[in-house]
């Protein structure tokens, strides 16, 4: 009996300790509609969280939503479980974060890709235009038809910023190159419709496109697939997607959502977390283009040289890439 009691009390004590540790630091990530394994944006966030877990041994919670209505619900649920900080992946969480952050003023919230108001909210933005500029250059240098394509997900300023940076990069290489642009749709479902991505890509190939940049989450998988089938080049987005179809994926515009998530967790753990807006670009290593063994044969030394030079120029401020979001317009088409 005595021994048993001891064991129970030990168990209780350890449970208490665990739960106190849990209450002290329990980070969470919630993904948007495209899902945790979209091989793109959300998956990058997942990788960052996993990296953090591996380094610190601190477990985190995550959740996926299957409809818009669940956004607030899932955030509120996480906050009630004393999760802190809570990272929402994707601009579509803006409204939900703003209202839930008000209800839980002591919980730290982070939103990626959008600005949300609140004293306990940090907004992380990326300079997508800078990375898109670089892959635009790659596309223009690779294209033989002088026509390149862009396929966006949902038609929102964020995706327009990708498109705008891309076009600027293309025109930087060759002023007369044509860029054909398509948006998949006007709802968040546009980020998860690969069949439509396939169809959009095929229609662009029919119009002479031979390199296509997909900034469309899960929809992009269809684009990459159809580029491979048609023997054309594609450019991946957010995560490094070069490995998906080696020899066909020219490069990827990498958005280091993984670093953002990882650093946010670290900051929160070390109590250096601050609310406000943080913008990550080439300079901060928040954005980059991907060059690895999978696409090495596709990128000629000449291309690499030019892109690297432009990269340095953007960082030093010699090349200024216009952000579509600055006044919702793009100087080039």
């Amino acid at each position: 009996m005595k021994i048993e009691l001891k064991r129970v009390s030990l168990a209780v004590a350890s449970a208490l300790m665990a739960s106190s540790a849990f209450a002290a630091f329990a980070p969470a990530v919630v993904y948007d509609q495209a899902g945790k394994f979209d091989k793109s944006f959300n998956e990058a966030a997942y990788k960052g969280a996993e990296q953090f877990k591996k380094e610190t041994g601190v477990a985190y919670r995550d959740a996926q939503i299957s409809s818009d209505a669940q956004k607030e619900q899932v955030l509120r649920d996480m906050a009630r479980k004393n999760m802190d900080p809570i990272i929402a992946v994707g601009f579509s969480y803006t409204q939900a974060i703003e209202s839930v952050a008000k209800e839980f003023p002591k919980t730290r919230f982070v939103i990626i890709d959008s600005v949300a108001k609140g004293a306990n909210v940090k907004s992380i933005l990326f300079k997508e235009q800078e990375g898109s500029f670089l892959v635009g250059m790659a596309a223009a240098m690779k294209s033989k038809t002088n026509t390149v394509g862009f396929i966006g997900g949902m038609d929102v300023p964020l995706i327009r910023a990708f498109a705008c940076g891309y076009v600027q990069g293309v025109k930087f290489v060759n002023k007369n190159d044509k860029v054909i642009q398509n948006m998949t749709g006007t709802t968040p479902a546009a980020f998860n419709d690969p069949a439509r991505g396939t169809e959009l890509a095929k229609s662009q190939f029919d119009r002479g496109v031979d390199v296509v940049f997909a900034a469309a989450g899960g929809t992009g998988l269809g684009v990459l697939q159809s580029a491979k089938s048609a023997g054309k080049y594609s450019i991946g987005v957010d995560s490094n997607q070069n490995y998906l179809h080696p020899g066909s994926v020219l490069t990827s515009m990498v958005k280091r959502v993984d670093i953002a998530v990882h650093n946010t967790f670290m900051d929160a753990k070390n109590n250096t977390w601050k609310p406000g807006i943080q913008v990550l670009g080439l300079k901060e290593n928040g954005i980059d283009w991907a060059l690895d063994a999978n696409n090495r044969p596709l990128i000629t030394p000449d291309m690499e040289k030019h892109i690297k030079a432009a990269r340095a120029d953007i960082i030093s401020g010699k090349i200024k890439v216009v952000d579509y979001r600055a006044n919702n317009s793009c100087p080039v088409q």
Binding site: G35, Q64, Q181, N182, G185, T186, A189, T198, Q225, S229
Partner: protein
């Protein structure tokens, strides 16, 4: 010319799953069983075929699995609405709900990729087929362009749908004994029953055909078009096919024309985006995306006239005693 061919080419490709699903719906509805479960059956088939094609590396086995899975759901629908005289709409709805629930759950359990299937290898997918001489006569004006641009270079399922399934369905419904009975059962099951036809048997057979065609439609989406299964990938195509069926007054050829029209609107929409038109300039994408829906409403309201459904549709058959 090239633009036009590319437009029509895309129309054929996009319409294929709609055509197969609409013809599937035709069997069921002509026999007097409402089928709003087309969407769910396609989705299940897309999942089953992708999973099996991935596991075996053979698209044909995938197709079989897709047809089998869809047929199983069809049989469930038949069990509820034919054997037990349940409400057909509710049964169809249940099929949809089951499909959208079970596919990501199984996908998550088997592949751990968030409910999606892994990308299929090249050998495990259906590919475009080039018809003989397509390349050599590609430069012949008009005929060569049409042949190599429009007719050649589709997936085997496209040819099956338009050259085998469509004629076969038309023949079956209008010229075969089974077709006559099918229509009789859908119009007046009591008369058919008096004449010695088993209403239950005919309706089961109709749903069997329905399941197999839905299976082909679903397989087209996952094993050919995207090369993997993705959650909710049917995205309303089943309902669109149902609309085309009603639009085509429950006749195979008209229903297929309805499907082609929807697909054409979709293809036009893709190509109009961002293209400046003479006098008007560039049309905003939101406006363009509304085209297929507006077209549907206009045509349904104005041009098709009254669509007369099979008389006994939706009414469970209870043998008078």
């Amino acid at each position: 010319m090239e633009q036009l061919i590319s437009l029509l080419d895309s129309t054929i490709r996009v319409s294929t799953p709609l055509v197969l699903a609409a013809l599937a719906g035709l069997f069921s509805e002509r026999s007097g069983v409402v089928d709003i479960g087309l969407e769910g059956k396609m989705l299940t088939a897309a999942f089953a075929s992708a999973a099996v094609a991935y596991a075996t590396g053979n698209p044909w086995l995938g197709l079989l699995a897709g047809m089998f899975a869809a047929t199983m759901l069809s049989m469930l629908h038949a069990l509820v609405s034919v054997t037990y005289n349940g409400n057909q709409l509710i049964s169809g709805m249940a099929v949809n709900t089951i499909a959208s629930g079970i596919t990501p759950v199984l996908g998550l359990a088997w592949f751990q990729q968030g409910g999606n299937s892994p990308q299929l290898d090249d050998v495990a997918r259906f590919h475009e087929i080039n018809l003989p001489f397509a390349d050599s006569i590609a430069n012949v004006p008009v005929i060569g362009q049409i042949y190599s641009g429009l007719l050649s270079g589709h997936c085997i399922l496209v040819y099956l749908a338009f050259l085998v399934v469509l004629p076969l369905v038309t023949w079956t419904v209008y010229c075969s004994r089974f077709g006559l009975r099918l229509r009789a059962v859908g119009e007046n099951p009591h008369a058919a029953d008096t004449a010695g036809i088993s209403v239950v048997r005919i309706r089961y057979l109709a749903l069997l055909c329905n399941g197999m065609l839905c299976g082909m439609a679903g397989t087209f989406l996952s094993v050919y078009q995207t090369g993997s299964f993705i959650k909710e990938m049917t995205a309303g195509k089943g309902f669109l096919a149902l609309a085309a069926l009603i639009f085509g007054k429950w006749r195979p050829t008209y229903a297929v024309m309805g499907c082609l029209l929807f697909a054409f609107a979709d293809a036009v929409q893709i190509r109009l985006e961002g293209v400046p038109l003479p006098f008007i300039g560039e049309i905003p994408s939101q406006f363009i995306q509304v085209i297929p829906y507006v077209l549907t409403v206009l045509l349904l309201a104005g041009f098709v006239g009254r669509a007369v459904a099979p008389k006994a549709i939706g009414i469970p058959f209870v043998k008078s005693r």
